[in-house]
């Protein structure tokens, strides 16, 4: 484990990512990286034979509206061959509450990212550059608003049916 940590720290440094510690309940190394360098770091974690992070558990995110409003995106990876997990987080500030920040897609690295990114995009109101097919996944295609934003207000009617109780 020590060895992996050192190698991870070296890679993180080369992508200007900050090591945020080790989360023991999930046995997961936490990294924070700039959004522009996120896809590059993830690709190296996938391709580098020291890590071989071949399993992408999830792409998820959160909306933080207080103080500095921002959208954070988290990637959870595991290396099945090397036996460790990594969480890579990245964030973008929102200048206006309606802004839709864009992040780079990792679909070309892990095919499984496709649906995760579609879900994150429709629920949080983010855009993934170079995503092959960024339609809605769970919501109806003409749904208004982004339900996981903290300032989300559901629409009054959907196809003529009242949404509220």
């Amino acid at each position: 484990m020590e060895e992996v940590l050192e190698q991870l720290a070296a890679v993180a440094q080369s992508w200007e990512a900050a090591f945020k510690g080790y989360h023991s309940p999930s046995s997961c190394y936490l990294f924070e990286v700039e959004p522009e360098k996120c896809a590059g770091l993830l690709e190296q974690l996938f391709r580098d034979k020291n890590f071989w992070c071949d399993h992408l558990h999830s792409v998820t995110g959160e909306h933080m509206p207080v103080d500095t409003p921002m959208i954070r995106i988290h990637y959870h990876l595991s290396s099945i061959t090397r036996g460790f997990s990594v969480q890579v987080s990245t964030q973008k500030m929102l200048t206006t509450p309606e802004e839709i920040p864009s992040f780079d897609s990792v679909c070309h690295i892990w095919k499984s990212a496709n649906w995760h990114e579609r879900e994150t995009a429709e629920l949080l109101g983010v855009y993934f550059n170079n995503h092959p097919d960024l339609r809605h996944l769970l919501l109806p295609s003409n749904w208004e608003g982004f339900p996981l934003r903290k300032d989300y207000v559901p629409q009054e009617l959907y196809h003529g049916v009242k949404v509220k109780f």
Partner: protein, 164 residues
Amino acid sequence: MAEKTGEAGVILTRVDDVLQWANSSSIWPLSFGLACCAIEMMGTYASSFDVDRFGVIPRASPRQADLIIISGTVTFKMADRIKRLYEQMAEPKYVISMGSCSNCGGPYWEHGYHVVKGVDRIIPVDVYVPGCPPRPEALIGGILKLQEKITGKAGLEQSNRDVK
């Protein structure tokens, strides 16, 4: 009657009564389930509860079905499909709303932006079965109530089926 009297007899009745009797004794529901209520519904169809004894046999096409059991959470995405299935059914057609979700939104009534707060906002409902999910006995109770309604014993008029 032949056994009772020893000769062939005649039963006098109204055409309406015969049709209602036939109708209520062969309620064919659509094979259609939505959520956890559908698991209870499947249990109701299966041998332990055996709704076949009431003439309830699930059919795989809305064109052969008399009844649609809305068994579970109706999301807005599903609502359009449910409406279309209901419209494809031939008259006379009936609707049982099974469980809290399809009755009124259930646990999603406040924060479930995606849930229709009661399937009666989309299609007219004949019988509401409460429960979360209802036991098979409760669903059978709902089917019996629907039989009463069809035969006119429940004292309910067809006309009070309205979309709210």
